[in-house]
C-alpha cells in the first residue's frame, strides 16, 4: 500500500512536468549542450595525458555524465526541493501523512525527472556501445556503484535540505556542495589527472561514486584490488552517510515541530 503511494506520487510529479512538453525538450537540449561542451573542451586539450583513445574518452564522459545526472548528483535538485518544502511549510502536510516523509518527497521529486532520466540512460547506453565493457565482474560492480552513488546523493541532498530546518534558506550551501561535486566527481575531468599525492584521497571520496568510479569500471579490462577497495569504500560511504542523514533529519524534524506546529 505504502509503496503504491510512492509510485502514484512519482506519477503525479511526472504529469505536472509533462504538461510543459516544450520545457522538457529544452531541459534535454540543455544537458546535451553541457555534454557537447565537455567533449569539445577535451577535443581541444587532446588525449595525450589520459592514456585513452578519443573514442574511449568520449565514452568515459558519456557514462560519467550519464550516471551523475541519472542519480541527480549534478545539481542535487532533491536538496533544493526539500529546502523549498521546508521553507514554505509544505512539509507540515507531508509529516501528517502515513508515509516515510523523505522517501515520499524523493519519489515526488523523482517523478519530475522522469523524461530526463530516460535521456541519461541513453547517454550511458551510447557510452557502452562506443567502448564496450570487457569484464563481467566490473559490469556487476558498476550496478553496485550506481546504487551506492544514488544512496550517497540521496543522503547528501537530505543533509543539505535539512539545513533549512535551522537556517531557512540553505540553497547557497547546496551550491557550495555542487561546486565541489562538479570537480571531485570526475565528470568534468578524469580523477587520474589529479597530482599523484591527491589522487587516492579524491578517488576514495564519496563524490567519486557519482561519475568517475562507474565510468572507470565500465572501461576496466580487469578489476584490480584498488578498484575493489574503491567499491568497498563507496558502500561504506553510502551506509555511513545514510545513517548520518537520518539522524540529521530526525533532529531537524524535532526542531521544526518545536517552532512550527
Amino acid at each position: 500500500m505504502r509503496f503504491a503511494t510512492y509510485i502514484k506520487t512519482a506519477a503525479l510529479g511526472f504529469c505536472s512536468v509533462a504538461n510543459y512538453r516544450t520545457e522538457v525538450w529544452f531541459q534535454v537540449a540543455q544537458r546535451l549542450l553541457i555534454l557537447s561542451g565537455i567533449i569539445l573542451l577535451w577535443s581541444v586539450i587532446g588525449t595525450a595525458g589520459t592514456g585513452q583513445t578519443y573514442t574511449q574518452l568520449i565514452a568515459y564522459f558519456l557514462v560519467a555524465n550519464g550516471v551523475r545526472d541519472l542519480i541527480d548528483a549534478q545539481f542535487g535538485k532533491f536538496g533544493s526541493s526539500m529546502v523549498d518544502d521546508i521553507k514554505a511549510g509544505k512539509i507540515s502536510a507531508y509529516l501528517l501523512q502515513p508515509t516515510r516523509t523523505v522517501i515520499f518527497m524523493y519519489f515526488k521529486h523523482l517523478g519530475t525527472r522522469g523524461v530526463t532520466i530516460v535521456f541519461y540512460l541513453i547517454y550511458i547506453v551510447v557510452g557502452i556501445v562506443l567502448a564496450p565493457p570487457t569484464s563481467l565482474i566490473a559490469c556487476l560492480l558498476f550496478f553496485v556503484v550506481v546504487a551506492t552513488g544514488l544512496v550517497i546523493c540521496l543522503a547528501q541532498c537530505t543533509m543539505v535540505g535539512c539545513l533549512a530546518f535551522w537556517i531557512t534558506d540553505a540553497k547557497a550551501t547546496k551550491n557550495v556542495v555542487n561546486h565541489f561535486t562538479r570537480v571531485l566527481s570526475g565528470s568534468l575531468i578524469p580523477l587520474t589527472f589529479f597530482p599523484v599525492a591527491y589522487q587516492v584521497p579524491v578517488m576514495l571520496s564519496p563524490f567519486a561514486s557519482y561519475a568517475y568510479l562507474p565510468a572507470t569500471l565500465l572501461q576496466a579490462e580487469k578489476v584490480d584490488s584498488f578498484l575493489f577497495l574503491q567499491v568497498g569504500v563507496s558502500i561504506c560511504w553510502a551506509i555511513g552517510l545514510l545513517l548520518i542523514s537520518r539522524l540529521i533529519w530526525r533532529k531537524g524534524v524535532r526542531q521544526y515541530e518545536a517552532v512550527g506546529l
Partner: protein
C-alpha cells in the same frame, strides 16, 4: 514637440533604471545571510574552477595556444561576463517568465511606463555584484597579479576587448530575452531560460582559437556565444587584430536588438493573461 517627447522618454527610462537598481540594492542589503551564502557559493565556484585549471595545466602546457596565465585571464573575463549577465539581464528575464506564468504581467502592462524597458531593467541586483561577485573574484585576481607583466597587451586591444564585452552582453541579453518569450506561448519558460543561458556561455570554456570554423560561424551569428568572452579575450591578448570584427559585432548587436523588439511585440499580441 518631438524633442520634448524624446527628452521625456529618456528621463522616464533613466528613472526606471535608477529606481529598479535602488530597489534591488535595498533588497540585497535586507537579506544579510543570503549575501554571505551567495558569496560563499561564488567563492567556492571560483576556487574549484581554479583547482580544475591547476590540475589540467599539470598535464598540458597549452589549451588552444593559451598558457596557464592566459587561461586565468580568460577565466577572469568569463567571470566578469557571467556576473554582468546575472546582475543586469538574467534576474529581470526570470521575473518576466514568472510574470507571464502567474499573470503578474497584466499589472506591469497597465503601468504608464515603456513596457519593454521596464521588463528589461526591472531588477538590477547591484548588491550581488558588490558584495558577492567582486569578493569571490579576489583569489583569481591574486593569482593573476604576478603574471600580469607577461601578457602581450596594447591599448587598442584593451579598448576593443572592452567594447566587445559590452556589445556581447547586449547581444546575449537579447538572445536570452527572445528565448524566454516562449513563456507567452507555452506558459512556462524556466528551462528555455536555462537553455538560453547555457547557449550564451557555451563559448566561455575554450579560447576563440580552439573552436572549429563551423562552431565559430554559429557563435558569431545565430547563437551569439562567441563575442563577449572568447573574441573579447582574443583582442585583449593581441591574438586577434582584425578590427572589422568590431564593426561586425556592432551590426550583430543592432540585429539582435531589432529582433528583441519585433519578437516582444509579436509575443504581446499572443499573450493570454493567466490571471483574468
Amino acid at each position: 514637440m518631438k524633442r520634448l517627447d524624446f527628452k521625456r522618454g529618456v528621463k522616464i527610462r533613466w528613472k526606471i533604471i535608477t529606481s529598479c537598481t535602488m530597489f534591488g540594492l535595498r533588497e540585497s542589503l535586507a537579506y544579510t545571510l543570503d549575501n554571505w551564502g551567495g558569496l560563499l557559493s561564488m567563492a567556492t565556484y571560483m576556487i574549484t574552477y581554479l583547482i580544475f585549471l591547476g590540475v589540467l595545466f599539470g598535464r598540458v602546457n597549452l589549451i588552444a595556444g593559451y598558457n596557464h596565465s592566459e587561461m586565468l585571464f580568460f577565466t577572469l573575463i568569463t567571470q566578469i561576463n557571467f556576473y554582468m549577465t546575472y546582475v543586469f539581464s538574467l534576474i529581470s528575464i526570470e521575473r518576466m517568465g514568472d510574470s507571464v506564468n502567474t499573470g503578474t504581467l497584466d499589472l506591469w502592462l497597465v503601468k504608464p511606463v515603456p513596457a519593454l524597458w521596464y521588463v528589461t531593467f526591472q531588477r538590477i541586483k547591484l548588491g550581488d555584484l558588490l558584495f558577492s561577485a567582486f569578493p569571490a573574484t579576489i583569489p583569481l585576481l591574486i593569482m593573476l597579479f604576478p603574471r600580469w607583466s607577461g601578457f602581450q597587451m596594447n591599448w587598442v586591444g584593451i579598448v576593443s576587448g572592452i567594447l566587445l564585452i559590452i556589445i556581447g552582453q547586449v547581444i546575449i541579453h537579447c538572445f536570452q530575452f527572445m528565448m524566454s518569450l516562449t513563456a507567452f506561448f507555452t506558459g512556462e519558460a524556466k528551462n528555455a531560460r536555462n537553455m538560453s543561458l547555457e547557449l550564451s556561455i557555451f563559448g566561455d570554456t575554450i579560447p576563440f582559437e580552439g573552436y572549429p570554423n563551423f562552431v565559430k560561424a554559429i557563435g558569431l551569428t545565430a547563437i551569439p556565444f562567441m563575442v563577449h568572452t572568447a573574441l573579447a579575450v582574443s583582442f585583449f591578448l593581441g591574438k586577434s587584430t582584425n578590427y572589422f570584427m568590431l564593426v561586425y559585432a556592432f551590426g550583430l548587436m543592432v540585429v539582435f536588438l531589432w529582433g528583441k523588439i519585433v519578437l516582444w511585440k509579436f509575443a504581446l499580441r499572443h499573450y493570454s493573461s493567466a490571471s483574468s
